[in-house]
Subunit: 350 residues, 2 copies
């Protein structure tokens, strides 16, 4: 790492319009408080030998009745377990599918000027990525990961049919410090009756770049420095203005607005690259807690937006805790330059 | 708490324009991962008897030479320790005061279309709130807390003189899960060469409300339900669309754009209310990790902005970890309705 020779730099990204402060010196600051983030025990730690279900885990094979209703399953290959992937309702949903969908701009109360409230209508689903408690997403082969991605896409297409659903946020939490409450490998999606704030900000920022430069923010990048890996259809990079150390974006090389339009070949390609990147992060950072999020276009945007919306998958290892500066300003401090993270991950064999 | 009778609701606040999903059912979800947030050991835990300095703490009385340079100190009252408060440079600054201030729009590189980078110029200071290792901010009396607030304001006024400083973010981290690396009671401020993203979003949102309703988002609130406590000059509320459980805002009752214009009387009043609120949170939530942030107007905004910018102090206990939904969408899930948090805190004797 060229750490010693580098000084601080502030960078603004062209997708979210966020300022990030890069400061290698920060990583040398001392602490007299115990780090809150213990190495994330592998989910398999509590499982019996041979991947037997953990007695209390409702996501394990054979415990389907302890879960909220199933939406669909991906059947197993011949002579294996009865399913490979299950998409189920979240038993403790943040938004409720049985609530009355909000009328357009239907307000239920206003406390201070300008505030709005709507019933908590929406869809909150869980994707169980494997029947086995001791298998992590990147332990599957590329085909296995691609099946998970295709299950996301299929469910997003179903939710898109509902007129009140404006966006579906697909995400994965791995490890307690990344927010996960369940160890069994899974991801989630939330279909919301509004376009979430970060999505609006992202579209506005990409639009501004497009209008000024005539280019999509994600269609080209000249620098080899931030490049990590690629396949026929996707590139993995450490983004120029990464908010988090070792943050990775996997971007389709062909301009494309909607994740859910991914086809089988694309999914296989993405599955293979996602698997490689998660394996690299796990190896380099000792199985860190992480989140990944899919950033797509909201449903029903006008066709004039499509030239500047380009979907991508963001992977964020959780190596430190954010503090008051980030919460207050929306601006992140990152001790690791993306060029340095990219070099390390690029050279790592996985 | 009326928890059982409530169902999910989505609310949008009138200051940041953020959507928050309130979902009491979420607090009942199980976990098979160890919570990452152990009760936050009181900073005094490691101190010797009688508040003797902790051997390794550079913020303690007598260890001044182990710190980065002092900017100013608040002298002690007669026959007490040589200082009560010290404002010092951060030894591991995110932004550097010795860097070349960026020329307006000076770019140092562009990797993808629309990205920008500037040298990491700025000011990163630490406010040591007490010479004693075992004293927490709310252990001081109202006068002691108000002196800390006046020290913030004085330093902000100094930084405002620098033409390249656009904003100063004042914040405090308490406890490891709130990002703190040092246990000794302190806060920080960062003077940035750009207006941070959340500040821009806040101003835009408050402007939109003002233009539509002719009212400042923070000048009035009708509901007694979210009210917690007040003094002559300030109100403490649980904001209608709180992103975090038990989040508190302390708002000047008279419209005012700039925190740093606070005078001695106002500071005493705020000191007393801040102290009460921190004591209430500590009592109710068992000394939780928390952050507080001061949200003020950027320097040199045009006078037409002043009618809708209203400064306030936000306190955020860190009771859970955010996950991929929040990181991806910018939208928070909060299991505790602010009305319920307000009622509990209002009725708590402190
Ligand atoms: N038997 C069962 N059947 C069906 N579903 C079941 C179930 N038992 C548990 N579940 C659900 O499974 C999900 C597991 O999700 P994760 O472990 O990814 O994190 P969680 O959603 O708890 O919270 C993290 O992610 C969210 C969203 O980012 C953050 O708000 C939060 O702070 C963070 O801890 C939970 O949402 C839970 O409700
Ligand atoms: N001898 C000395 N003299 C002067 N200064 C000294 C010093 N020894 C240490 N310091 C400084 O004291 C500060 C203590 O700050 P905090 O404990 O509030 O959190 P920190 O800034 O480490 O990071 C938290 O807050 C930041 C900003 O929100 C987040 O980026 C980060 O992830 C989170 O952990 C550090 O910034 C450190 O550099």
């Amino acid at each position: 790492m060229a750490e010693a020779s580098r000084t601080s730099e502030a960078r603004r990204d062209a997708v979210f319009g966020r300022w990030v402060v890069f400061s290698p010196a920060r990583s040398r600051r001392p602490t007299d408080l115990k780090s809150h983030a213990p190495a994330n025990p592998s989910p398999g730690a509590g499982a019996g030998a041979g991947g037997a279900p953990k007695p209390s885990c409702p996501f394990c094979l054979g415990r389907e009745s302890e879960c909220a209703p199933e939406i669909f399953r991906v059947p197993a290959l011949p002579d294996a377990s009865p399913w490979r992937i299950r998409v189920i309702e979240n038993l403790y949903p943040a938004l409720r599918r049985d609530a009355e969908p909000p009328a357009p701009d239907g307000e239920v109360g206003e406390v201070m000027p300008g505030e709005r409230a709507v019933v908590g209508f929406g869809f909150h689903d869980v994707v169980i990525e494997t029947p086995r408690h001791d298998v992590r997403l990147w332990d599957l082969d590329a085909g296995g990961v691609s099946d998970v991605l295709l299950a996301y896409a299929r469910r997003v297409r179903q939710l898109m049919e509902h007129p009140a659903v404006k966006y579906v946020q697909v995400f994965k939490n791995h490890g307690a410090s990344a927010g996960a409450s369940m160890a069994h490998s899974h991801s989630q999606m939330l279909g919301t009756p509004f376009v979430p704030p970060s999505v609006t900000t992202r579209l506005n920022c990409m639009k501004e770049v497009f209008e000024r430069l005539g280019k999509c923010s994600l269609c080209e990048f000249q620098s080899k420095d931030i490049f990590v890996s690629e396949t026929h259809n996707f590139s993995a990079i450490a983004p120029f203005a990464a908010s988090y150390p070792f943050e990775i974006w996997i971007i389709p090389r062909q301009h494309s607005s909607y994740f859910h339009e991914i086809d089988k070949d694309m999914a296989l390609d993405l599955g293979s690259l996602l698997r490689t990147m998660l394996a690299k992060l796990s190896k380099q950072l000792n199985d860190p807690p992480f989140n990944f999020m899919i950033h797509s276009a909201p449903f029903g945007v006008s066709s004039s937006c499509l030239p500047y919306t380009h979907w991508f998958l963001q992977i964020v290892p959780q190596l430190s805790v954010i503090g008051g500066f980030e919460i207050g300003s929306g601006c992140y401090i990152n001790p690791v330059f993306p060029e340095d993270a990219a070099k390390i991950l690029r050279e790592l064999d996985c």
